[in-house]
């Protein structure tokens, strides 16, 4: 039950972050190049991603031994989780600029507005931009859904959580239109990064042959330790940065 809830939360959070990024690109394309091309490009990307999942998912379940899957998946989750956590901590402490969806949106709009439009109703630039945006961000979602879902044995839960994130963020996008910057992306990235690192350590270890004390309950212990370290890292880096700024040059 512990793993099931953590898997659902991790997938929902990760998919929400990726959805915000994809939606920013689709909206920039829709507003500047026309909605028909943007929506068609997004729809084709979703179809391609679905075919990819249908082809890769069952093959992984049937042909790859669970311990190999957990070792590889654990390693991938650790890499991805540590990258997210690093980025989120550096942003939270001010060492890196926050991911500003508003600025990205403005930049995309400016870039797309300057390009000539094709004569007919369908716009190739808008189509390709939306397709690439949704496909690339969607690939990360698929990676997370497949890796977390297959390793835990809760692929159904992971898929439902991902679908819920797509619906929720999509609805927010439609309702608030260009206000995606209101979504607390860095906080979500920090939380998801923590969970990915936790699952990565747990399954990577299990794949390598480690037997965790308390089985699934060890996930909570790992999460608590990593959360405490992350909190300490944000506090320390914030203080270091403040001291550095206060020092006379």
């Amino acid at each position: 039950m512990t793993a099931e809830i953590l898997v659902a939360l991790s997938v929902f959070g990760a998919c929400s972050v990726e959805m915000v990024e994809a939606l920013t690109i689709v909206m920039a394309s829709g507003f500047t190049r026309g909605w028909r091309s943007a929506l068609e490009g997004s729809a084709l990307a979703v179809v391609c991603l679905a075919i990819l999942v249908a082809a890769v998912g069952p093959a992984l379940i049937h042909y790859v031994p669970l311990y190999v899957l957990r070792l590889v998946v654990g390693s991938l989750l650790l890499v991805l989780g540590l990258q997210w956590l690093r980025k989120a901590v550096l942003r939270a402490s001010g060492y890196k600029a926050k991911h500003d969806e508003e600025a990205i949106y403005r930049r995309e709009v400016e870039r797309l507005s300057g390009q000539p439009r094709s004569g007919s109703g369908r716009d190739a630039t808008g189509f390709v931009i939306a397709f690439k945006g949704v496909f690339l961000e969607g690939m990360e979602v698929i990676m997370i859904v497949l890796t977390l879902g297959l390793s835990s044995g809760y692929l159904g839960v992971a898929t439902v959580a991902a679908a819920a994130a797509v619906v929720v963020i999509g609805a927010i996008g439609v309702v608030v239109a260009r206000q995606l910057s209101e979504v607390p992306e860095n906080g979500m990235k920090l939380g998801v990064g923590l969970m990915l690192v936790t699952f990565g350590t747990f399954w990577g270890g299990e794949g390598a042959g480690v037997r965790w004390p308390g089985s699934d309950l060890a996930l909570l212990g790992l999460l608590a330790i990593y959360a405490a370290i992350t909190w300490a890292a944000v506090a320390t880096l914030t203080r270091t940065r403040a001291l550095g700024a206060a020092e006379p040059t």
């Binding site: 070792l71 654990g74 390693s75 991938l76 650790l78 890499v79 991805l80 540590l82 990258q83 956590l85 690093r86 901590v89 550096l90 060492y95 890196k96 690339l136 690939m139 990360e140 990676m143 690192v197 990565g200 350590t201 990577g204 270890g205 794949g207 390598a208 042959g209 480690v210 037997r211 965790w212 004390p213 790992l222 330790i225 990593y226 370290i229 992350t230 890292a233 880096l237 270091t240």
Partner: protein, 70 residues
Amino acid sequence: MTVQRLLVSFGRFWWDFIVGDTPEIAVGVACLMVVGWFLARGLSAAAVVVLPVAVIALLVASLYRGMRSA
């Protein structure tokens, strides 16, 4: 030509995804799994402690690198 371009893009995607601008994390995790594998064969109890500690060390090292390059 198109197949070659597709393969290059595919390879580039995975390189960016796994290595990107944090090669220390990719290399560190690979080493960690090898160490975990050997520890689990003889010293499983030690692996339970070593793995999380090594993950924390990796995060701290990567943060230090990120802080220096900021």
